[in-house]
């Protein structure tokens, strides 16, 4: 079984500020001084691929990313975790790129390369769309299941049995025919941490690099025109003062409202 895992480099949310004045251009929210890492759900996707290989002896795991030069980091990390091969589609990214553009580039790479399974994260932590995977499945004409947290080979050949959690904590088991695309949700089995020696070795592996032009970019279909701070949904009164004073004020407020 040949598996492709799509991994994205995202900024750490805690380093993203919310200034009161919206930026001039939407892409300006990705400013200097952000900490970057692999999208957490994509770490789960790499882990899921590695575990499938351990149980079924899958033949090959490729990691794919679309992004600027620095995005290479996530491929190194995926290879440090155990992926065999890294593919980098270089994109001069405004980082708010349409999901149709990203999915189009990745589908163009995957088509004709005889993958049995493509894994994405259930969403990117920065853009939170949950769309790149399903759109790619649509482009390839493959079946697609989202937010799967565990899967295994089915008794039927060329099919997987997938587990997922849906609304209200209900659970579902579904069978999907291969080739298929799954988006992977976090779960109780934590992604492995790459050993330093493996990371160092991964840094020496050659990567396959494409420019976006060679892969015939798809129509973006939609565009982010503005970014702004969200509205207050509740009053959000801030309690100020020393730590002790804040604790007293909060306790007093809860008591005055009859909440304790």
């Amino acid at each position: 079984m040949k598996i492709l895992v799509c991994t994205k480099r995202v900024p750490d949310l805690e380093t993203i500020p919310t200034p009161e004045i919206p930026p001039k251009s939407p892409a300006d929210i990705f400013r200097d001084g952000l900490a970057w890492r692999m999208n957490r759900y994509d770490e789960y996707a790499v882990e899921a691929a590695l575990q499938l290989r351990e149980t079924t002896g899958a033949s090959r795991i490729d990691a794919l990313t679309v992004g600027e030069e620095d995005a290479e980091e996530v491929l190194r990390r995926a290879m440090g975790m155990g992926a065999d091969h890294g593919v980098h589609i270089l994109q001069t990214n405004d980082r708010l790129t349409s999901p149709f553009t990203i999915a189009g580039l990745m589908a163009a790479y995957a088509r004709e390369r005889a993958y049995d399974l493509i894994l994405c994260g259930t969403m990117s932590e920065d853009l939170m769309q949950g769309l790149v995977g399903p759109i790619m499945a649509g482009m390839l004409g493959w079946p697609c299941l989202t937010s799967v947290h565990a899967f295994a080979q089915s008794e039927r050949s060329q099919a997987l049995v997938c587990e997922r959690e849906i609304e209200g904590g209900c659970q579902e088991a579904l069978e999907i025919d291969l080739p298929a695309l799954l988006t992977i949700q976090s779960g109780s089995c934590q992604p492995r941490y790459p050993a330093l020696s493996k990371l160092l070795r991964a840094n020496t592996y050659p990567l396959e690099v494409f420019s976006e032009e060679t892969l015939a970019p798809a129509d973006a279909r939609q565009r982010v025109v503005t970014v702004r701070p969200p509205e207050q949904r509740r009053e959000g009164v801030r309690i100020e003062g020393s730590s002790e004073s804040k604790a007293h004020q909060l306790a007093a407020m809860l008591r005055s409202k009859g909440l304790c």
Binding site: L13, M128, L131, P134, C144, A180, V237, S243, L250, A252
Partner: protein, 328 residues
Amino acid sequence: MPIKSVVLIAEAETDGNPSAAMDLAAVGDRLGQDQPVGVHWLVVGKHAAAAGEYLSESTGYPATALVVPPEKPLTGALLANLAKPVLADLRPEIIAFLHTSSAQDCVGPLAIALEAACITGVQGIIADGDQFIFQRAVFGGKWLTEIRAGDRPVVLTVLPGFFQWEDTKRQPGPLEIQQPSPSPQRIRLIEARASDCEAALGQAETVVAAGRGIGSQENLDLIHRLAACFPKSAVAGSRLVCDAGWLPYSRQVGVTGATVSPALYLACGISGAFQHLVGMSGSRFVAAINKDPDAAIFRAADVGVVEDLNTFLPLLIEALERNRSYTA
């Protein structure tokens, strides 16, 4: 101005009134505020006939009900396949789903089939000439983006709780019932299991919720001690806390966990992603403690404290205990 056609897609796999779909009805009304739109329901599932009747009567919008045979449970892929011919017929400019698991399976492939744009997690709509701009959250809710879809039709998923339906008297809309016979599917539901969310969460008057900001399982002790300061309280967690094994999944609050509406919700070290907020937005009073002054949770809280939990929770527990001894 040509009238825009809007199709609202409601799932009807379970019995009973599809009350969640009223958020979609509100989207229909919202779109109609700024320009004339023709809104149509497409109701799909085992109980589509009854649900379609309810929705067309209560909203006045015409409905097409696709009654799926009970031996073919509705999946996102089946939903897309059944919706496609009806949508090809109605040629809507806007197609809106609730942001459910099956909708998330179905909207991407559907957008490809219809050559449409696609925007998930919509929480606001603004008129822009004869077009619309759709708002959705990014970065864990710290920012909103506004997206324009150009001239193509657009497929949306809409977050629950952002569009409120106003119940006014309307003429019932016509209902058409169809009984499609689905072809074999590449995705098959094998088993559906009920939720194991803890009943105690739903009954608690105070829910003290721990997020990843609590830092370690040992620190959960502080959360338990905090909860003990309130009568009829329960401890809950975000998904990340349950993934880490610090609390069982039965205590997860959010879209894939429990929905709670206590008198007091105390969010400790929770960032405020919409998947979490969906599960607690019905709480009467929300207090949030987070060390990041920009955390999205502060926009969904009545009162907020910017503090480090490690130092602040012991002080709060002490203040509450003192409080209690005064009243005792």
